[in-house]
Symmetry: C2
Subunit: 131 residues, 2 copies
Amino acid sequence: MHTIKELLANSTLKTTPQRLVILKEIEKRGHASIEEIYENVKILFPTISLATIYKNINALQEENIITPVCSPKKSRYEITKEPHAHFICKECDKIEDIIFDENIDKIIETKYPNSQKELYIYGVCKECQKG
Amino acid sequence: MHTIKELLANSTLKTTPQRLVILKEIEKRGHASIEEIYENVKILFPTISLATIYKNINALQEENIITPVCSPKKSRYEITKEPHAHFICKECDKIEDIIFDENIDKIIETKYPNSQKELYIYGVCKECQKG
DNA sequence: TTCTGTGCAAATCTTTTGCATGGCA
DNA sequence: TGCCATGCAAAAGATTTGCACAGAA
């Protein structure tokens, strides 16, 4: 486990207040979209520009500090962590982290060895099934 | 199994030459992006407009005739079929359909019952691992 | 004949780029 | 101090909208 400051210090990127605030926002929300990051970072950092958000999102992805979580509706980003699975609701676009079942892990590892894998399950969440 | 014509006939959408050609292109490629569809449909249908492609992609998704396949790089679409899994290469963005392992199916069904599920495995394909 | 679909143009939204200035190491 | 990062403005790219005409049912 690393702190956000350590993640930056161990990368080729410089530690700037903007980057710290962007990463804290992603960490706090679990999964954050560009607009969510921009709107919330602007509260603490009114002068920040959208271009800075985009540049940093790209740089942080290249350093593997954050990982895109893609849904059909909008892309979001999370702090890169151990392999885990996502459940994404097709209706409300909610993302839940789920335990990466070790049996599934074994099955996939057999077929796709040495693959840096991520598992996504797209479905309809319980709340939306009720509606 | 349904033909493309039947898919349209059973929907609320009218059957037009443009829609048939768009769907045939998606079927032929397995997974097609907006630009791929546009570039190839234009050969048969030089007057087609990008707006028509977008409007139809949205309409066909609402009718559940096509399903988005999302990758971190670009969105693509496929004809809606029985649940199956995708392997998407993080490097070259290639998409492979893979058999939906019945053991994985059972594990997911236990945790997410009655969920219209899709399985995605993001990793690095064999070709890109060599490089 | 009716009403949806098409195609064009314009509008809007999203993301990237260039450049002068500011700030971390 | 040197070089990378920021922020602005503009450019480029992607997607949506409005409207008149064409075409499926």
